[in-house]
């Protein structure tokens, strides 16, 4: 079994502290490249910015397996300069406006500090407390004398990685956890497959990078590795929580159905049976909306058998998420064990 130890934690720290809002993923691409270029058989950046890394196995009848983890994170773009250092902005990716006011941000590649400002309590009438402040009424304030901050720059939450015992608090765990897992899988690549790792771009804007990556790689089978929300709290009235999506500590979340993909039933069976056989805990993500790169991959070309596995995380798409190190480790191990056991016969089973 693979372990999450100091080097893996340091790498996740580096990955989550870096900023890579959708469409500008260079910072993550650079980190990943350094990690894997010595072990890769092939490595290239495609036209959209996806980093495609091939690690070939040995022996005959190797399946070509595409594993996708997106490098981008949700964030903002400055859209209008109102006065010196004071900008209107738009969200890039799904964002709840109630989560924004008062949050510190980093603007641009140089990580210029700023804050998402709103009117202070002194000047807000009591009737307004109960209403949401729309994004159009919020501003990013970087202070005076920042000529390098311009309209079109991206911004993200200024949150630094923190280990909290058995948990981690950081921004962009969606999907730097996936990126970290994919790097680890490349470093421990099973020899029975050709591993086609796709570190994708623009997932948060509609699974755009994965679409061209899948077309180019044309794999036999694919998995998206992501992080999915856990809403596993007690319900306010004491009734049973029946809408938790996933639960923290219950292991990797295997997808059956989300808003973009009906996972290939053969892949659901393969992952579940691996978990049962190797005694790696897993859970099924509640069928529902949302989507991963699998949504683009499975309908690429003449169709690709595809599934998704996610590390559960609380508070996704906000300033900071929270996950359990054990869930991360179990996700890595479930994937590693499943891939190591994978035989081309899976594609002969009835779908």
């Amino acid at each position: 079994m693979l372990k999450i130890r100091k080097p893996q934690l340091n790498l996740l720290e580096k990955l989550t502290n870096a900023t890579a809002v959708s469409g500008d993923e260079g910072a993550i691409r650079k980190i990943v490249r350094v990690e894997v270029e010595n072990i890769a058989d092939e490595i290239k950046t495609d036209a959209m910015g996806n980093l495609l890394v091939t690690k070939r196995g040995k022996g005959r009848n190797r399946l070509k397996i595409m594993l996708a983890a997106h490098m981008d994170e949700i964030g903002f773009m400055l859209v209008n300069k109102e006065s010196d250092g004071f900008f209107q902005f738009a969200p890039l990716g799904g964002m709840d406006p109630r989560q924004l006011a008062g949050k510190p941000v980093w603007v641009g590649r140089e990580k210029v500090p700023g804050v998402i400002g709103a009117a202070p309590i002194h000047l807000v009438s009591p009737g307004q407390y109960n209403s949401t402040i729309p994004i159009a009424s919020l501003r990013i304030d970087v202070g005076l004398g920042k000529p390098n901050v311009k309209v079109g720059d991206r911004a993200t939450f200024a949150t630094k990685f923190l280990r909290m015992g058995d948990s981690i608090r950081a921004k962009a765990l969606d999907d730097r956890l996936g990126v970290a897992i994919l790097i680890e899988l490349l470093k421990n690549a099973p020899a029975n497959i050709d591993l086609l790792a796709a570190f994708t771009v623009q997932e948060e804007l509609g699974l755009r990078g994965a679409k061209v990556a899948a077309h180019a790689l044309d794999p036999d089978l694919a998995l998206a590795i992501d992080s999915t929300p856990a809403l596993d709290f007690p319900v306010h009235d004491g009734s049973e929580n029946i809408r938790y999506n996933t639960k923290l500590g219950a292991g990797p979340a295997i997808y059956t159905v989300d808003g973009r993909t009906l996972s290939d039933p053969r892949i659901i069976r393969w992952l579940s049976e691996t978990g049962d056989a190797k005694k790696i805990p897993y859970q099924y993500r509640q069928p529902g909306s949302g989507g991963t790169d699998a949504g683009s991959i499975h309908i690429s070309r003449a169709g690709i058998p595809t599934g998704s596995v996610s590390v559960p995380g609380r508070y996704a798409h906000s300033a900071m998420g929270l996950c359990r190190i054990k869930d991360w480790e179990n996700t890595l191990n479930l994937l590693h064990a499943a891939l190591s056991d994978l035989s081309p016969d899976i594609l002969k089973e009835a779908r």
Binding site: I242, A302, G303
Partner: protein, 330 residues
């Protein structure tokens, strides 16, 4: 064709889980195809003939279904839809799971104060007879379809999943009756149509046809207080001109109408304001195709009991054979 329609509509295969229906269809068509294959998304692709035009005739074989997203402390299975349901058609419906379990759909809001309110799907549940997650025959990810027997009213037929098994029957019957064709015809029984026509996306890419025709049901405007629509049950094959996500190629529309008129097949002109079909995916797959659609008028679409007219069904077979037999000039 009635026994075939009965057999097809009494098979359970929701979107993404088309194994059972694929086996039934394969058995029906194996003697009438030159080549049969199944693609990565489970589409069943049967070729008949060669030369002439490369034509893809698609009928989706999936049906709308339910997937369990939680079994609560008392054993009630909460669910998400596979495809689109109108909530008011579901309460009291019986469902059969692919693993054999059986249940009835119940709903919250049945208290006196709220009983006039329509329960949304997330306030409904499936009662499988279980009393806890422990003795529940189902778990997260288990899939069910509606259960309702086929019923023959003579001219009119009622069944669950008439959408789109009636078109599947039309394709099978066409394959049987089509003695010769001047074309390379791919009869494609597609998957996952009810969840954004996904099977047609990949099968059309794999085949790369010049002409694509989707056979599907279409809602009608002939029941009390229904939405206004020209198409009625029993008044003929419905030739699609437009739906919200696809404009049929005018050359295909003209070809179909001329053929119908020449063969004295009653037809109706269809402009749909609701729903779409596999044709929308075929049209834009790869480098694109000329597409059209032929619809079988259907009442109570996406309810547990969908009704079609048997004359319309037989006329659809006639039109398809007329179209495929001869040389095509567009």
């Amino acid at each position: 064709m009635k026994p075939l329609i009965k057999k097809l509509t009494e098979t359970f295969s929701p979107s993404g889980y088309e194994n059972a229906i694929r086996e039934v269809i394969t058995d029906e068509i194996k003697d009438f195809a030159d080549e049969i294959r199944v693609d990565a998304l489970g589409n069943l692709i049967a070729r008949k003939g060669s030369g002439g035009k490369k034509i893809m005739i698609a009928a989706h074989m999936d049906e709308i279904g339910l997937i369990v997203n939680h079994v609560d402390e008392k054993g009630f299975a909460r669910f998400s839809p596979l495809g689109t349901f109108l909530p008011h058609t579901l309460v009291g419906a019986r469902v059969r799971f692919l693993n054999g379990a059986y249940g009835v759909v119940g709903a919250e809001y049945l208290k006196k104060e709220t009983q006039t309110k329509l329960a949304p799907l997330d306030k409904m549940f499936i009662d499988t007879g279980a009393t806890s997650p422990k003795d529940s025959p189902v778990k997260i990810g288990d899939v069910a379809a509606l259960e309702r027997p086929f019923h023959d009213l003579g001219k009119r037929l009622i069944a669950k999943s008439m959408d789109n098994r009636v078109s599947v029957a039309v394709l099978i019957e066409t394959m049987r009756k089509l003695k010769t064709t001047a074309h390379e015809v791919y009869f494609v029984f597609t998957t996952q149509e009810e969840v954004q026509v996904r099977g047609a996306i990949t099968s059309a890419f794999g085949i790369a046809p010049e002409i694509g025709i989707a056979i599907d049901i279409c809602p009608v405007g002939d029941t009390p207080d229904s939405a206004k629509k020209e198409v009625s049950l029993g008044k003929g094959v419905s030739i699609k001109i437009k739906d919200p996500l696809m404009i049929a190629d005018p050359r295909i529309v003209t070809w179909m109408i001329k053929a119908a008129e020449k063969a004295n097949i009653p037809y109706q002109r269809e402009v749909s304001t609701l729903g779409s079909t596999d044709a929308r995916a075929i049209q834009v797959a790869g480098a694109g195709a000329m597409v059209g659609g032929i619809s079988i008028p259907c009442r109570y679409v996406h309810s547990p009991s969908e009704m079609v007219d048997y004359d319309d069904v037989q006329n659809t077979v006639k039109l398809l054979i007329t179209l495929l037999e001869k040389k095509i000039e567009l």
